[in-house]
Every structure is written in C-alpha cells, then in structure tokens.
C-alpha cells in the first residue's frame, strides 16, 4: 500500500519532467542537428512518416553537427558564454551578501512579524516582472529619480543606465526573493537549542553563529545560489532593457540566431550548449545535498 502510493507520487514529477522537459529538449536537440531552409517550418530534414523506416533513415542521414562546429569556430559564442557566466556569478555573490542578512534577520524575528516580512519579500511578485524592470529605467535614466535625488543631496549625477552596473542592479533586484526564501527556510528550521548549547559551552554569539548557524545554513545558500545563477545566466529581458549594446549575453545571441539570422539550428545549438554547461553546477549541488543527508 505504502509502496504503491509513493510510486504514484514519483510518477507525477516524472511525467511532468517527461512532458515539459525531456520532450521539448529532444525537439531542441534534433533541431540543433538540422540545417536551415526557406520553408515552413524553416529547417530540414523533416521526418517523412509515410516512408516508414526508410523515411527515418533519410532523416537521420540529414542530421549533422554543423551548428555545433560553428560554436567552436567563432569566438563570439565563447565570449558570450563567459560574459553570461561572469555576470550571473557576480550577481549570485551580491545576492548572497545581500540575501543572507535579510533571511537571517527575518528568521530571528517574532513569528507574527516573520510572516509579514516573508510576505513583504514575495509581494513584488504581484506586479508584472516587465513593469518592475521598466521602473528601473525611470530610476536610472540620466534625468531619472536617482539623479534627481543625488542632485538634491548636492552630489554629482551618475550615468549607469545601459551599463553592466544597471544589469547587475536589475538581476539582484529581480532575483532577491529566490535567494532569501531558501535561506530563510533553512535558517527558520534550525534548532535553537544548538545555539544555546554552543553558548553554554562558552561560544561568543559571533562564534556560535560562525561555527553552528552558518555551516548548517550552507545547503540553503547553495539552493538559493543555484536558483538564481542558472536562470540569470540565460537571462534576456534584464540585459536587453537595462544593458547597453555591448552587454553580451547568451540570451541575446540566441535571439539573434533565432530571429535575425532565422537560423533555428544555431539557436538550438547555443541553447543546448548552455544547458550542458549548467548541468555541472546542478550535479555538484546534487552531490553536496547527498553529503548533507548522509
């Protein structure tokens, strides 16, 4: 009985993954091996099901790795990849530095206030993401809110819209809840008697935090970091709206391949390459989680 129940419970996420991840992933993978064509749909080969096995064989012979060869032959893709990872990496570090004290502070509040504060972290999600990013344009533009405020304080204006600084600001702002919530979940669950025990044994409040609370919260930090890092490295909207023309990120490269070049195979190959490189941190996280459980 119990076994049957858990089997069913496992089937649901598996089915979800199969339908919404594995199947689309296969489609994209197959596209990345195709060639562009001026037809509907704009790639070749297509499977001719009427020919049965022969159709499948013809299809398989039409596949090639030309799109991947291009990824290696032009340094643009490597540059874009490194630049995406660099921006996502810097933003993740900033998010940890900003998110940790927030999550820690909330977890140490009285329960009623805690709920209100968690709600406050989630609240911005009730406004459209696009509108929140557009709001940053109004804040950062040359005659925007930020420079009016700086002017009122007698400080010189700053011109950061359309720079990497603006992109990092936007990334940190948009992804902060994804960092705070997993950290908070871990910190909130922590057994407070551990801290009391540490203090009974002579630890100062700081060393109790550093040697007990902090190591125990690392799994939350890792979860938050991955939740932020992975989508940020493929982020498109924030660099497009807040970044300058020179902000090179893979999202933009995929857009150019897909729309400007009408080259679906190349766009798919870039997407697959990005996914493959992101698997590394995911697998590392997986291992770390296993160690925590062990």
């Amino acid at each position: 009985m119990r076994r049957g129940g858990s089997g069913l419970a496992a089937a649901l996420p598996l089915l979800w993954l199969a339908v919404f991840f594995a199947f689309p992933f296969m489609l994209v993978g197959r596209l990345s091996l195709s060639d562009t064509a001026l037809s509907i749909p704009p790639y070749t080969p297509r499977i001719d099901w009427n020919q049965g096995i022969a159709g499948l064989q013809t299809f398989a012979r039409g596949l090639d790795i030309e799109a991947y060869a291009r990824l290696i032959s032009d340094t643009l893709y490597l540059d874009a990849w490194l630049s995406s990872l660099r921006l996502a990496g810097i933003a993740t570090v900033l998010l940890l530095i900003i998110g940790y004290p927030i999550a820690y502070g909330i977890s140490r509040c009285p329960p009623a206030l805690r709920q209100a504060l968690v709600m406050a972290v989630i609240l911005p999600f009730w406004t459209s993401f696009l509108i929140r990013i557009y709001a940053w344009i109004a804040i950062l533009k040359p005659a925007g809110v930020l420079n009016i405020a700086l002017g009122a304080l007698g400080l010189p204006p700053v011109d950061i819209l359309n720079t990497e600084i603006a992109v990092l600001l936007g990334l940190v702002y948009a992804y902060l809840p994804f960092m705070v919530l997993p950290l908070y979940a871990v910190l909130d669950r922590q057994d407070h008697s551990l801290i009391e025990a540490a203090q009974d044994l002579g630890a100062t409040p700081f060393s109790a935090f550093w040697r007990v609370t902090f190591p125990l919260s690392l799994s939350g930090a890792a979860a938050g970091a991955l939740l932020c890092f992975i989508p940020m490295s493929g982020e498109f909207v924030i660099p497009d709206l807040l970044g300058g023309s020179e902000t090179l990120m893979l999202g933009r490269v995929i857009w150019t391949e897909f729309f400007a070049n009408r080259d679906w195979p190349a766009a798919s190959a870039v997407a697959i390459a990005l996914l493959a490189t992101l698997l590394v941190p995911i697998l590392l996280f997986e291992r770390q989680q296993k160690q925590v459980i062990a």
Partner: protein, 372 residues
C-alpha cells in the same frame, strides 16, 4: 516599424518553439461573415476603420500586433499562425514567397488595385513580380531625427541634411554628450551606411560590408545605444538629441514633444546622399483559415476614402494614389511623409539577402554592437 521590446518577442518565440498546439484559427464563426484575424505592426491602423469593416461586412475582426519583421517571419514560417492577414515589409516578402508561406491573391476580388500609385507598384516589382502575393499598405523612410536647439548649440551653422552628421566621428564627438541613438536593425543600418560610403546599398560583396563595419565601429564610441524603438520616447523627452530612425516614429516623437509642451522641438531629415524607403504590405498566409474575409479586408483598405483615413491616423504615406487628395493637408504636404519627386529620386529599396550573406552581415553587426 516599432520594435517595442524584444523580450516579448522572445517569450512568444519560446512559447511557439515549445511546440504550440494548433492555433484556434478555426474558432466558432459566430458572426455571419465569420472571423478575420489580422497581425499588424503596433499603432498601425485606426481602430475606427476596423469597427466600420465589421459593420459593413458582418465579419468580426481579431487584431494582434507585433513589433519587428523578425518576429513576424519567425511566426509565419512556423506555420499554423491562424492569421488571415499579415503585414511584412518589402525586403522580407521574397522569403515568404520562396518558402511558400503566402497565398497568391485573387485579383478579381480586389478592384481597388487600380488605385495604387504606379511608382510604388514599380518599386514592389523587384519583391513581388506582378503583385501576385501582396498589396502595399504604408511606406516610410529612414533618416535623422534631431532636437533642433540641442544640435544647433553643438554644431552651429551646420545644416542637418547629410549622413555625415551621424557617421563622421568629428560631428559625433560633439553630439555625444547630448545622446545619440542608432537603430538596432542590421539590414537597415548597413543599407544607409553603404550608401553613405558611395557603395551599392544592396551589395553582395562581403568587403563592402567590412568597410561599413569599420565606419560603424568608429562611430560606435559616440553612440549611447542601439535600439529600434526607445528613441521615440527619448527624443520626445529631450533625453537624447539625435537618432537614426524610421520617419513615422520620429514624426510621432515630434507630435509627442509638442503635446507635452516641454519646449523640445524635433525635426526629421532624409539626408541628401539618399536613404532607404520601405513598404509594408498586406499578405495572406498559406494556411489562413478565412482567405475570403482577408480578400474583403484588403479590398476595403484599397478604397481611397478608407486608406486616406488610415494615413491620417498613422502619419505614414499610403500607396494609394487616388487617396492622396483625401489625406489631411498637413500630412500630404509634409515632404517627410509624402516625399517630393526630387526626394523620391534619392530613395532606394533594400533587396533580400540570401542566408549566407544575412548571417555574415548579422555577425558583423554583432561586432558593431559588442565590439567582439
């Protein structure tokens, strides 16, 4: 020709790339004449005209908008869009025809074709021989939009009538502090850059594009941003002083600045070296659910009194010669909208590039944008 936000385009593309189910093109045909689905550029028709069409024919209109040729073409070439009328630009049309993505028109149902201006028909011949697949709707040019006072202060005595204003680094250096925007549209920008360099704006020679890239890379340090729609608002607000942009968009910025009464005066110039003229055309996708309604709509838009009102709304010139006297005088007599014969001689059209050249040109454009 607004490219409002690529973000939306990407989201839409991801949604369709994730294997969209068959569009609900065959929605219940409640009204007597069925449903007509139109996919057009944003802010590109007077909504009153659609209501009038429904009243006259009983055909209900569903109207969606896009903001770039790239998004439109990607959608149409995916197939099963469910749209009956789409509005690509001239230089993209041959790709639709080659891909067999559009239906040949039934000209017997389009008596208004005789109203089209012979000049436009001649321009379109290169893209759609004999007008078999498309009917021109509106046309516009690429040129320089500028803040009169801000530019006069930085370039005293200089007449803004040459591409040198935006392509000569010496001029750009003086304009940098007040803000310069270029279009982020590789084909359009290369066409006008090649023309400025005295080369064929439709060159097929990679070396020509490399020369254009070298010039654009020299201009790049002085350009605040490459973007295809932000400049409308930025010009109107006085945030920037020069933009290379589309005629209708810059005239829209001018109108907005006048409405806001901020004292910002925007002007538009088609440079003397010549510029690109483009046409947006009505076409019917191959798998359109209701091609009969599509023909009725195109016939409706070919009526002079109707298309004249469309131009009054969009501030773009239409392709209908019989309609010109009915267009508001302020628009009809504005050479920036209806080019004078003298100006027309300096306008050229951009032809379609093959896949290899398109990829090469876009790769060079990425180099202009990112320096890499």
């Amino acid at each position: 020709m607004n490219r409002w936000s690529r973000g939306i385009g990407l989201l839409a593309a991801l949604a369709l790339a994730a294997c969209t189910p068959k569009s609900d093109g065959a929605a219940p045909t409640a009204a007597a004449g069925g449903v007509l689905r139109i996919y057009n550029w944003s802010d590109y028709i007077d909504p009153a005209l659609l209501a009038e069409f429904t009243k006259e024919t009983g055909i209900k209109v569903t109207y969606d908008t896009f903001d770039s040729n790239e998004v439109l073409e990607t959608k149409v070439l995916q197939g099963d869009t469910g749209y009956d009328v789409v509005v690509p630009s001239n230089h993209n049309l041959p790709r639709y025809i080659t891909a067999k993505a559009v239906l040949p028109l039934d000209k017997a149902q389009l008596p208004g074709l005789a109203n089209l201006s012979p000049e436009t028909v001649a321009h379109m011949a290169a893209f759609d021989p004999g007008g078999a697949y498309a009917v021109p709707y509106m046309q516009g040019t690429i040129g320089i939009g500028y803040n009169e006072a801000a530019v006069a202060k930085r370039l005293p005595g200089v007449k803004i009538d040459s591409w040198a204003v935006v392509f000569d680094p010496a001029n750009l250096a003086k304009l940098k502090d007040c803000g310069v925007y270029f279009l982020d549209a590789s084909e359009d920008m290369y066409a006008v850059t090649l023309n400025y360099l005295g080369k064929d704006s439709n060159s097929k020679v990679p070396a020509d594009y490399e020369a254009a890239t070298a010039l654009l890379l020299k201009a790049r340090p002085f350009v605040r941003k490459f973007h295809s729609s932000e400049y409308i608002e930025a010009l109107a607000n006085g945030d920037i002083c020069v933009a290379v942009g589309y005629s209708g968009d810059i005239l829209q910025a001018k109108a907005r600045a006048e409405e806001a009464k901020t004292g910002v005066k925007i002007a538009y110039a088609v440079p003397k070296e010549g510029s690109q003229v483009w046409f947006d055309v009505f076409a019917i996708p191959k798998d359109a659910p209701n091609p009969a309604a599509a023909h009725k709509f195109i016939a409706f838009m070919l009526r002079p009194e109707i298309i004249a009102r469309a131009s009054n709304f969009t501030r773009y010139a239409n392709a209908n010669a019989a309609a010109t006297p009915m267009v508001e005088a302020a628009i009809r007599d504005d050479p920036n909208v209806y080019p004078t014969p003298e100006l027309s001689k300096r306008l050229f059209v951009t032809t379609t590039k093959d896949q290899a050249l398109l990829r090469d040109v876009n790769r060079q454009w990425t180099k202009v944008l990112t320096g890499r």
